[in-house]
Amino acid sequence: MTVHTKGSGTTWVGRSIRRLEDPALVTGRGRFTADMPATHWVRFVRSSVAAGTIENITAPERAGIVTAKDLAKLKPIRPMLSKFNYVAVGQPILADGVVRFTGESIAAVYAPSKDQAEDIADQVEVEISEGAPLIDAMDALAEGAPLVHADTKHNVIVEGRIATPGFEDVWKTAHKVLHVEARSHRQNATPMETRAGHAAYDGSTGRVTLTCTTQMPHLTRTAVCDILGIPESDLRVVAPDVGGGFGQKMSLAPEYVLLVWLARKLRSSVAWTEDRRENLIASFHSRDQHVQLEGAFDKSGKLLALRGDIVANIGAYSCFPTTCGVEPLMALAELPGPYDVRAYDCRSRGVMTNTCPMAPYRGVSRPVITFVLERLMDKAAAAFGIEPTELRRRNLIDKFPYTSATGLVFDDGSYKETMEMAIKAIDLDAFRKRQKIARDAGRYLGIGFATFSERTGYGSPAFAARGMEITPGFETVYLTIDPSGFVEARIGSSPHGQGLRTSLAQIIADEIGIDPEFIKVVHGDTDRSPYGWGTFASRSLVLSGGASLLAAQKIRAKLLKMASHFLEAAPEDITLQSGSAHVIGTDRSVTIASMARAAYHQTHIFKGEIEPGLTETGTYDPSGTFSNACHVAIVEVDIETGRVEMEKFLVVEDAGLIINPMIADGQVHGGVAQGIGNALLEEIIYDETGNILTSTLADFLPPTTHEIPEIELHHVETLTGNSITKAKGLGEGGAIGAPAAVISAINDALSPFGISIDEMPATPQRIRAALRSSGKLPSNGKLA
C-alpha cells in the first residue's frame, strides 16, 4: 500500500478518501433513535389553536397521561442573555394553562405501542378558550398589541443597536441612496429524520440514558438535568446516527425533558418519534424576518454608509441554549457582509408572536441578510448603470486583517479573487449576449451573483459578545492509542451526516502515521466523549479538527520519544508513517502497535522517563475564521406563469485548506440545494387564526432532484493563521449564498419590467403578481 503521511511528501489531508461512516449507512446498518424498542410509547397532544387558555383536559379512563400539573416541580426552559434588553421568558415542558402557538404540547399520553398512544391521544379532549393570536411580527410590534407572555411589558424580547460615531455626517455626503424593503418568509429546516427520543431508566444505578437525535448531546444533558433538578451524572445522552439537523436539532426539545421525567417516573423505557406533521408545525422554524436596508453610495459607486432595521419573528418562546437573540443579533453584527463600509447604523429586534419558536437554521440570519444586501448592491449597480459585479469589485474587502464597522475581524480571504474566477468560469460576457438574443425572442434569462463571508469556527470570545449565559466555544478531543495499536479519538462535537469521522481521521493520520482506517472517531455519547458543544455554526472541523491536531501532536511527540528509545536514534531523525516509526535513511523501524503495547504492558523498560499509557487531550478555542464564496445562478423566468427554471449554479468557494474535497463538495452541494429551496419553494404559511396551512410535504415544498440544476464547484484555498489546521468551516455557506444568487438572477431576468422581487421565497405567484403590477405585460399575456 502506498504511504501518504507526514514526511512522505503526500498526506491524507487533501484527498477524497471514501467516508468511513458510509458502509454502515448505505447497507442499512445505521443506528437511529426511532429503531430502538421501548416499553412505553409517547404521543403528544398538541394545541389546535394559536392562543388561548386551557379550560379542561379530559382523557379516556385508565389512559396514561401527563399534563402540566404533574410537572409542577420542573423548571421552565428559560435561556438567558445579559445584554440587548433581553426579556427572559419561560417555556413550560407542557403548556401550563396558556397555549401560545398551534402545535404546542398540552399533554403526553403513553401506551405500549406507538399506534395505541396515537389512538388514546386522539380521544383526549382539550377545551381551550381562544384568544386573539399574533402571527406577524409587525402586528406584535403595534401599540396596544396583546402580549404573548402576560408577564412582559411588550413583545420585543431582544433589541440591539449599533451606530458608528459620525454616521449622519457620512450619510449627508451620499451621491445616491438606494433602499430595499425585504421580506423573508418562515421556513422549516426539514431534516430527513424528524426528531425522536428514547429514555431508558436503569434500575440498578437509577440513571437514565436518553438517546435522541440531537446536534448537542452535552448541552442536552445539562439542560434536562437543570430542569429536572438532578445531577448530570444521573443522565447519559446518546446521539446515535442522526439523519440531518441543519440547526433544528441544536435547540432543546421540551419533549426530551418529558421523556426523561417519564422514564424516571415509570422506571422504564419510553420513546417518542415525531411525525412529519409535528415537525412542520411544532419543531422549530426560522428565517421569518422583515428587513429595511438603505445604502449611501459616493459618485464612484463606493458604499459609504448602511442603515438597517431588522425585525425577526422569533415565535412564542426563546430557544435553548442560543436564545432567540441568535437571528436578530447575528443579523445586526454581520449585515455589512464582505463589503468595506465604515458607517453603519442598524437596529435589530426579536419579536414574540403566537407562532412556533424560532431556532437556528443553516446560515441562521445570513441567508436573509445576504439576500437583502445583495439586492441593495444590485439596485445600486442598476442606478449607476454598471454590471453588478463591477459594483461589488469596488466594494469588496481586500486588505486583511479587516476590522468591520461592527468590530468583526476578517482574516485572510479571497473575496475579489473568487468573484473574478466565477465571472470567468461562467463567462459573463457570453451570457449577456445569450441573454439579449433570448430577450429578443421573448425569453427571460437572468444571472445573479452573490458574494459573501461565512463566519466559521468561532470559539468562546466571539460568542461572549452576545452576553449569553451559556457561551459556547472550545472543543476537546481525547486521543488514545490503545494496547491493540488502534486509535480512538473521542470528540465533543456531534456530527450528523457531515463525514466528520473521516475528516478528523485524515488530520490525525497525517500527524501520527497511522492510516485513517485504524482511527475510530467516537462522538455523540456523554459517557464516552469529553464535554463539548456539538455541531453547529460551521465549527466542527475547525474546532474538533484543531483539538484533534493538538492531541495528535502530543501523541506524536510521545511516539517519537518512545521510538527514540527503541531505535536508539534522535527523535528528529525519526518519521512516523504507515503504522511504523522509521529512522530516516535507514531500514530500522518499529511498529507503532508494538510501542503501544509497551506503553501499557512494558512500561518498566522506559525507566520512568516516559509516562505509562498513550492518551492525550487537545482543547481548542480559537477566535474564528471567515470563509468566503461567490455564488452564481442562471435562471429563466417564464413571465406568463412566474415559474423559475434553474439553468445552472456555480460556486467558487474558499474554505481554506480542504481536508477531504469530496466531503467539502457534498456540504456545498447540499447547502446550495437547500438554498434554492429557500429561494423558490419553501414557506410555512399561517392563516390569520394561527393555523398552519403547510403541514405536509405536499404543501411545504423542499426541492427534489428535478428542481436542482447542475452545480459547478471550484475551490480556492487561502491558508489562514486563525485555524491551526488551516481549514475554515463550510457547512453553512452553500445555504447562505444560494438564495441571494437565485433571487438576484430572477431580478436580472425581469429587469426589462422595472420591478424588484424582494421577497423570499420568490414563488411563481409573487413573481407573476409583480409582473402584472409592472403594467408592462401585453394584454394577451404573451409578449410579441
Binding site: 396515537e118 386522539d122 417564464d638 406563469t641 415559474r643 404559511i685 427534489t704 405567484q765 407573476r768
Partner: protein, 285 residues
C-alpha cells in the same frame, strides 16, 4: 400518522364487493383501491372510515382492453399500466404522455385510474382525461348497474354522483380517430406535484382546419371539464399562434377559478391562459 382503527374486508368477486358495500357503506365503509389518496388522509385522521372494502384481490377488475369503440379500464388498473401506450393510435400515446405527470413512480405503481376518478381531486390528470374525452363510467351496486357520462359523474371538489353503496367498476374512454392530434400541458410547483392548472386538447384537422376540438381544463375549477368557449374559437379555423392565444384567452375568461391563500383568481386565470395555449402548441409538435 397512524390511521384510526378500521376493519378491512377482502372480497374476491364483484358481487362480493357490492354486497359488502351494501352492508358496510351505511356503517361508514369505503372502497380501498390503490390507497394513494385514501391512506394519507387516513394517516392524518382527516378520514376515519370504520370499514375498508379492499378491491385489490377482486378478479376481473384488472381488465384493460378495447371493447368495440372504447377502451375499458377496470377498477384495479394502476396508473403505471399506461407508462407504455396500451393501444396503437393517439389514445395510447395520449395516456402514456399524461401518466408521467401523475405523482411519482412508486405512487403510479399503486394508484388506480378509477380511484382517481372516484376521489375526484380537481387537479387529477385522469379526471381531466375523462372529462376531455367524454368518458362513460360503469357504476355497480346491489341495485344493479348504471352507465354515467363523466359530466354527470364529477360533481365538485372530491365529490361525485356515486351513491353510498355504489362503486366505480370500470371507466370507458372512446377510442380516438387515427388522425387525432392532442396536446397536454400542466403547471405545478415541483415535478410530480398536483397541477395548479392543466389543459388537454384533442382535435382533428379536416382540410387544414380544426374539427371536433375538445379543450379540457383541470386544476382550475372545482372539477375538470370541457370549455366549449375555447372549442368554439378553434373549430373551423386553421391552427395558428394567434388562434391558440385566442383559445387560451377564451378558456381563461370562461372558468370560475378556484382560489386559495397562495393563488388568486387572477393568477389561476393566468395559468389557464398559459396552459391552454401551450397544450395547443404541443399538439403540433
Amino acid at each position: 400518522m397512524k390511521p384510526a382503527p378500521f376493519t378491512r374486508h377482502v372480497p374476491r368477486t364483484v358481487d362480493e364487493v357490492v354486497s359488502a358495500l351494501a352492508e358496510f357503506a351505511p356503517l361508514d365503509g369505503r372502497i380501498l383501491a390503490g390507497g394513494q389518496s385514501l391512506v394519507p388522509i387516513m394517516a392524518f385522521r382527516m378520514a376515519r372510515p370504520a370499514h375498508l372494502i379492499d378491491i385489490n384481490e377482486v378478479e376481473g377488475l384488472d381488465r384493460l382492453a378495447v371493447d368495440g369503440d372504447y377502451l375499458s379500464i377496470g377498477a384495479r388498473v394502476r396508473h403505471g399500466a399506461f407508462h407504455k401506450p396500451v393501444i396503437d393510435g393517439p389514445l395510447g400515446k395520449l395516456l402514456a404522455f399524461v401518466v408521467s405527470h401523475i405523482a411519482h413512480y412508486p405512487i403510479r405503481m399503486r394508484g388506480t385510474f378509477c380511484g382517481s376518478l372516484a376521489h375526484a381531486d380537481p387537479a387529477s390528470e385522469w379526471c381531466l382525461v375523462a372529462a376531455t374525452l367524454d368518458a362513460s363510467l360503469v357504476v355497480k351496486s346491489v341495485r344493479g348497474e348504471r352507465i354515467v357520462p363523466v359530466t354527470d359523474f364529477l360533481e365538485g371538489i372530491m365529490s361525485t354522483s356515486l351513491a353510498e353503496d355504489e362503486f366505480l367498476a370500470e371507466a370507458r374512454l372512446p377510442l380516438l380517430p387515427d388522425d387525432t392530434k392532442f396536446g397536454f400541458y400542466e403547471f405545478s410547483r415541483r415535478a410530480g406535484d398536483f397541477a395548479m392548472s392543466a389543459a388537454l386538447v384533442t382535435y382533428r384537422l379536416v382540410d387544414g382546419v380544426i374539427a371536433d376540438a375538445h379543450v379540457g381544463i383541470g386544476g382550475a375549477e372545482d372539477r375538470a371539464r370541457r370549455i366549449l368557449e375555447a372549442e368554439d374559437v378553434l373549430n373551423g379555423n386553421a391552427p395558428s399562434p394567434d388562434l391558440f392565444v385566442a383559445a387560451g384567452e377564451a378558456a381563461a375568461n370562461a372558468i370560475e377559478p378556484l382560489e386559495d391563500i397562495q393563488t388568486t383568481a387572477e393568477y389561476r386565470c393566468d395559468l389557464v391562459r398559459a396552459v391552454t395555449r401551450r397544450a395547443l402548441e404541443r399538439s403540433l409538435l
